[in-house]
Amino acid sequence: MSRDPSHLLPSAEPVRLVDARGRAVEGAPYPAPDDAALLRSLGALITARRLNDQAYALVRQGRLAVYPSSHGQEACQVAAAQVLDDGDWLFPTYRDTVAAVGRGVDPVEALSLLKGDWHCGYDPYEHRVAPHATPLATQLPHAVGVAHAATLRGEPTVVMAMCGDGGTSEGDFHEALNFAAVFHAPVVFFVQNNEYAISVPLSRQTAAPSLAHKGVGYGVPGERVDGNDMAALLAVLGAAVARARAGGGPQLVEAHTYRMQAHTNADDATRYRDDAEVAAWAERDPITRLTTHLRDRGVLREEQLAAFTAEAERVAAHLRDGLNRDVEPDPADLFAHVYATPTPQLREQAALVADELSRELGEPGRQLGEPGPAAGRRSPEGAAR
């Protein structure tokens, strides 16, 4: 009566190919990626870290409102992007800017949301990266829909749908996994378990043996992977993508990693966790681990490392330049995209705002874009002055 579930259960320990000291793990259940792939990933990791740190600095300089950093989670970010083909789709959360950049999105455009110029700053179709999702887990059913549409048309698209450990508690997570399973949709659900949802630790989020154990309840294979092990991530996510592309249906992958910084710059993590916990995770840094692994095995030359660092600097400079440039957002945009054609009501409202602006431009001392009441008053005719 019951289909045998054993193949749907994750391994007891997360898959690890390279240990925290950079040494290859014996008898790992997945073949190691080749050195070229690992080297490429190291470059991406170095850029990823640099981007995280640059964005963080830009918040302090007031160029970004806030930044939810993936510092410490870069291996997950890089792997999520690297295992995909051009025709595939990525569904990132607010924390997955680096993954979006990994697929080719310009980091300046990716951070438009947090700079405040507009919501989604990039064209989702250009690199097949959905807009950053903020309402938690809501992007997961979208991922299923994109995948199912591709399946109906016979296209080989695979969709990488990302969420956090906290996001797994939302109803949409459940509904998306179930739909994906029932429609056998080529979606890889990739949960970055970074141990916290803002202040709430995993132990208060779930009592499950692991988040990957949620898969079996949908008939979806669950897998667990060391989220700071670049090699293991490439292997596990790569296999999941290949399986989905081959018609194997969805998969749930949980990466065990850690949010090294506060939820965002605005958060005060000392209220809910110890520095010692953070320090312990610093020991498991994904970049150090991969660097050691490649260096110890003679694969990484120092010139290569220097080149990676230079490339990371170049990207960081691009981000700095982009975010330091002030774009004057156009209020006409507020009305232009609510519908394909503005409704009569929106045309009226746009005209009102335009009228306010034209009056304001006549007024010295008021700046377009300055916070506060939006515009100059009409001359108060009729007012008894």
Partner: protein, 352 residues
Amino acid sequence: MTAVAEPVTAAARPAAPVAVPAPPAGGTVTLSMAQALNRALRDALAEDPSVVVFGEDVGALGGVFRITDGLTADFGEARCFDTPLAESGIVGMAVGMAMNGMRPVVEMQFDAFAYPAFEQIVSHVAKMRNRTRGRVALPMVIRVPYAGGIGGVEHHCDSSEAYYAHTPGLHVLAPSTPADAYALLRAAVASPDPVVFLEPKKLYWSKGEVELPSRAPGIGTAVVRRHGTDATLIAYGPSVPVALQAAETAEREGRSLQVVDLRSIVPFDDETVCAAVRSTGRAVVVTESAGFAGVSAEIVARVTERCFNALAAPVRRVTGLDIPYPPPKLEHFQLPGVDRVLDAVDDLQWEQ
């Protein structure tokens, strides 16, 4: 036996399939609203391969109201299919399919069972085009068997239009005739924007002439259903027949009432509505949904803002009471009826 496969209706309704198997090439046919909707889906599926229909029980069963009757049989599983029972999942999946080249038409089984999808509708369906600066459009339709008047038990008769109408980024339509049901559903499916399509349950079995292909006006257009000179009744969906009946009764009493059928709640046709109100100087808004902060309030507010100097009396409202929808035996107290409408008309300061 009713066509409703739900613990819901007291009213006995024809259980017969509503599908219209032999579509005439053109001309005018008499159809129930249910049949007109079925026909609209059929024609859309036939014309555009990107149209897909899905939801709960829409496949083999043809939907609890049989609006999707025969679609799976005729267009195949890929074009019309059942989903697992999860409305947020249904709408969320539709968002993804619309992002990826399809035109999904999803069915929510009843108004109240669309509420689980509220976050998807408000935070994604309504906002996607805007947040992506027009790059990602969501051509999708959310069909909702809407409102009451069928003796349904709790949670089966809500009127939910205000929630959607208040949410910028959605179009909200409510037909009152089979011809409009056909025309507006076709327009909704063809629209580049998401549409919440409200199908008055109590009118599913009402019949009317439907011209094919339709030449009815599209989204954003109200029509004057009946001309009159003394006061204007403004209604949409299930309230339109009530308004028309009231106008008929009033005529026998020597008062000439005009009836405007909004058809499209968003966008709102200020021009037609205001012209009608100005021509009579008096108006009553009739809606089945609760009055407080509902669409009826918006109509009163905007008509007053725009036509104040032409008004001989405040615009009055005849709406559902501000209570949870009553049980079947008390339902008639909730529904705007002819008498309440005429009472409101009487209150329009005729003595001045």
